[in-house]
């Protein structure tokens, strides 16, 4: 099994390496929006001292951490899976004695993320030099607590993301659904602004949704802004959503594949 993963990894890495210029562009593309929001909030924080208790440095550390966390957690499986389902090339994957999503899609997205990371690192350094964040609040303990939070977030994001993509088994307009799903993530994850600045109603809903586990929770864990009670709550929420996501995915996948073979693509 490990041998299979290793081989897939080598193939995917080589494929992505071919398109390294595109990958660099893709990384730069993802930087623009957070940097714009960062600039907006720094301006406001500097003009009145702080925003709702958040200083300019709080915003800088929040958005700079998000660039990294986002790169690890954000699910990109739609680019690998949706087309395969729609044009029928999934058929050949289904013939292999391994799970198409949990091996091929997972490894392809992980390889892309790993290589994007190589591209992001120097750009991130430059941003650090430009914005001069003070990461003094980060401790070894908070760093160690962030690792499982990031892994859990990535697992949930992946499973829910591929579940949404699997709706392509039923509809040809899956891209619109994915767009809608992405909009929910933007709204409830803290990608837009730190969640405490959102309208109260959204904050209440966000506490129970999985999306804050994709950005806000791991960022605030790393920056040491959470109480032990909040930390524990986030881990419990992660465990519940991981179980739910796994359940949703297996159900959708089974039903979808059955339907897929019925069409005879």
């Amino acid at each position: 099994m490990l041998q299979i993963y290793k081989r897939f990894w080598q193939v995917n890495w080589a494929e992505h390496w071919q398109y390294r210029a595109n990958l660099m562009m893709y990384v730069l593309y993802g930087l623009v929006s957070p940097v714009v929001y960062l600039a907006v909030w720094i301006t406001i924080a500097n003009s009145q001292g702080s925003v709702n208790g958040l200083t300019a440095n709080d915003f800088v550390t929040y958005y700079l951490t998000m660039l990294v966390i986002d790169q690890i957690i954000a699910d990109i499986s739609q680019y690998y899976l949706a087309d395969k389902i729609q044009d029928g090339t999934l058929s050949s994957d289904l013939l292999r004695p391994i799970h198409p999503v949990l091996t091929q899609t997972l490894i392809a997205t992980t390889a892309q993320k790993a290589l994007s990371f190589v591209a992001l690192a120097p750009v991130w350094m430059i941003l650090v030099l430009l914005f001069r964040p003070d990461f003094g609040a980060v401790t070894l303990a908070s760093f160690l607590l962030t690792l499982p939070a990031v892994l859990l977030g990535a697992a949930i994001a992946f499973l829910l993301g591929v579940s949404v993509t699997c709706l392509a088994f039923w509809t040809t307009r899956v891209n619109a659904i994915i767009d809608l799903y992405d909009a929910l993530i933007v709204l409830f994850s803290g990608q837009f602004v730190p969640l405490q600045l959102m309208p109260p109603a959204i904050q209440v809903v966000a506490r129970y949704l999985p999306f804050q586990l994709f950005r806000y929770a791991p960022i605030e864990t790393l920056l040491n802004h959470l109480s032990p009670a909040d930390l524990a709550r986030n881990y419990v929420l992660s465990a519940v959503w991981l179980a739910l996501a796994l359940f949703i995915f297996t159900r959708i996948w089974r039903a979808g594949v059955r339907r897929f073979s019925a069409v005879g693509a």
Partner: protein, 261 residues
Amino acid sequence: MRTLRLLSALFKLNLQLALAYRADIITDILLNLMWLGWELLGINIIFSNTTSLGGWKVGELIALLGVFRLVNTFMAALIWPNTAKFNASVRDGSLNYTLLQPVDSMFLVTFSRMVIWRAWDLVLATVLIVVGIRMTGSGVTAPNLVGFLFLSVSGTVILYSLWIVLIALTFWFVKFDNNVTILQALLDTGRYPSTVYPTWLRLIVTFLVPIAVATTVPLQALRGDLTGWQVLLFLGVGAASFLVASRVWKAGVRKYSGASA
């Protein structure tokens, strides 16, 4: 006259293409409305925490959002789809047929694809601009309004000229599929006034990829931040960049040797 007839023919062609996927049009418009909601929520969050963003009031930011959406619509309805078509036609050699037509090639390359449902976006953007200006209130004078309108057009012409130069570069460097990515990536900076950005970013979006010239600058004219000379200067830059772009395009077409011929 001939140009208008051509435009309407291309419009009809693209309308027929779009009408084959009517349900998609509805979905696209609904998603578009949803993202507008998100953008307004963003402005709402900002102004529930402050009264001005670097000296800009809420009405001015809404008007800016309207201008940004005009530029964005221009890009999404014409520029991006025609870029895709152009890049493909360079690769497979079908650009030869475009060049052989007895019409200005720059015109054909710009208008052969249109995303029709985006016309709806023009309505939304206009509403945002009008509402924004209304909210700003008495500060708007007639000359400022005229300056705003002219600078919006000339700013878009500047972005268009940059696009022409970028795709014309394909004639020299054939493997240049990423020709517009930088433009696409930086477009989002047009949502907020470039005056709040750090200096390095402001320099990039003003001089290198002049998104701000089509979004922030017209709004500055509306606010009365610009002197008459500055307005004239920007208009001059607009005209000059268009001339340069059409020169570069002509030189590129002369240089082009065809992929399959």
